[in-house]
Symmetry: C2
Subunit: 336 residues, 2 copies
């Protein structure tokens, strides 16, 4: 059993009230009493209950985090950065891994509410009406990280996904590619689905390159989906010479499919990814990618959230938009 305040009092030979006064740093406690109490605390290994103190302070220093999939390289990196910044600011993380399970998300939002978390970080944008209603009612500061829900009431830390996708496609065009395929995400997602697709379409149109229906496929950001979709593209009659995949995981799946068909990246097909996850450096050829500043994104998310918690303010007036960056590695080559 963990020692209680009365155990400290007994060991120090003082009243519980005296222990409490010492713990609260009150003046007018004699030095020798203070010393005895402190010694008793050390010897027993007593810690004042966080729970009891939370009741008084109205603050738990807890942040609830909803992650779509902690095993993805992108989310585990951003989570690690969130944890680091939270810890440096004496906040602790309640982590929920939802794997697109709406019921689990609702359950966890209730847990966050019951636990009186000081703030919530959400890393997906598939809010159904029930969840949207619930987070509005919670009355707890909420921030979205790496995504922006259509509901304008919430703060987001994001990159400009449209321009980033435009720039990625533009890079392939500048390498001389004209038949450029697209492996997209879930079109119910505005940030990572629609915006990246529109950026691709616009870049193609601005260079008067035709959009070929057969060269455009949509998946779920994961490796297997990249693997399956690229096989469809490779089966086209006029197959593309380059492909833009909207996640590094999908790009790596695509690279593997190319290789498993006896073809080579980038000789037979150039591939550019999106995210800047650890995978870019782990695969061969190393993956050229349009990178999000993942570490910075986690850090800024926590910093803005803490500001919201401290100021008891609503969401900041505008989103925080971080810079994307093309990192050229070995998976794309000049065409023709």
């Amino acid at each position: 059993m963990a020692p209680k305040i009365k155990d400290v009092a007994k060991k120090a030979g003082v009243s519980v009230t005296t222990v409490s006064r010492v713990l609260n740093g009150e003046k007018y406690v004699k030095d020798d009493l203070k010393d005895r109490v402190k010694q008793a605390i050390d010897e027993l290994g007593y810690t004042p209950s966080h729970i009891a103190r939370s009741l008084v302070r109205k603050k738990t220093n807890l942040i609830g985090v909803i992650v779509p999939d902690v095993t993805s390289s992108f989310y585990s990196t951003i989570l690690s950065s969130i944890e680091k910044t939270a810890s440096m600011n004496d906040y602790n993380l309640l982590v929920c891994n939802i794997i697109e399970d709406i019921d689990k998300e609702l359950k966890y939002l209730n847990v966050f509410k019951e636990m009186r978390v000081d703030g919530i970080i959400i890393m997906h944008e598939k809010l159904n009406d029930e969840i949207r209603d619930m987070i509005h009612k919670l009355g707890i500061p909420i921030i979205f990280s790496s995504v922006k829900p259509t509901d304008q009431a919430f703060a987001s830390v994001i990159i400009d996904d449209y321009t980033a996708a435009y720039d990625a496609t533009r890079y392939l065009i500048e390498l001389g590619h004209e038949r450029i395929g697209f492996i997209g995400g879930d079109m119910r997602d505005v940030t990572s689905g629609q915006n990246r697709y529109i950026g691709y379409c616009r870049a193609m149109a601005d260079s008067s390159l035709p959009l070929v229906d057969e060269h455009v496929r949509f998946g779920d950001y994961k490796t297997q989906s990249g693997y399956d979709l690229i096989r469809e593209l490779l089966a086209c009659e006029d197959r593309p010479t380059a492909v833009f995949a909207v996640s590094d995981d999908m790009a790596v799946g695509a690279m593997n499919a190319v290789r498993d068909q006896g073809l080579a990246v980038p000789d037979d097909l150039s591939i550019i990814g999106f995210d800047g996850s650890q995978l870019t450096e782990l695969v061969r050829p190393r993956l050229t990618s349009m990178e999000q500043p993942i570490q910075e994104m986690g850090k800024v998310t926590v910093e803005v959230l803490i500001d919201m918690i401290m100021d008891q303010e609503d969401a900041p007036g505008q989103d925080v938009v971080l810079k994307h960056q093309l990192v050229v590695r070995d998976s794309c080559k000049r065409h023709g």
Copy 2:
């Protein structure tokens, strides 16, 4: 502001005591009062405070988890399994990512204590005296997952690392390899450092194969370390024809180094990894690996811990040892 019990009482037109009696499911509350209270709760979105209830129940349903590095494929997979099993049993996770920072670990153990977590999961075995002292004093059920500290007082869910390493080496020997290199972990770690090294040594000795000092290197389980160490092995005069790396991350680093030197896996060097992480299927050639049952390990860890919490018992009398399994993919070939 979140609604309080007095707001519910006001809205329902009843006393706070009545609301409290309804919440506690007491009998002898008139049905119409019950209905009014329930309706007020629904409309206000009121939730009884977890904090207040914890004070009464002496149980927080929190599990503190100490992860060495959430961005590693192995740890993020086991964490995801721990989270799933915990959530199914209505436990929530406080996650701490320590990255071998002892001060941070001590700080988090204090947080776990203050938060009155019901149990703690630790996934590394580098316990210094200060940490060992502290976790003994905590008086909270603790379980180690995937590692076993030398301190016998703690429960562990592990595989038999010695035999698994023996079997991995044996597999290379049966393929006809005689010059078999070893890329090991941190020898301060008993489970993943010493036991895997001893398994390798013993398998070599049992086949009367010589241990060549130059062919044995130690790193930190990470990709970069595998990359650097294999370059040293390749520079040896009689370089090995096969290598056993004690983590998949190191094996993938090793594969990349081989390729970057213009050589091929498995034609010039066979490589076997250890863990069974997602990476094994992501790289080309796909990585043959001695696999730990990662998902099961996370699940069993939580189940045993919950048993300890419920029974208020100390650690179970013996460790839980799960089965390892060789999964043959494409990174090893027959020699000679």
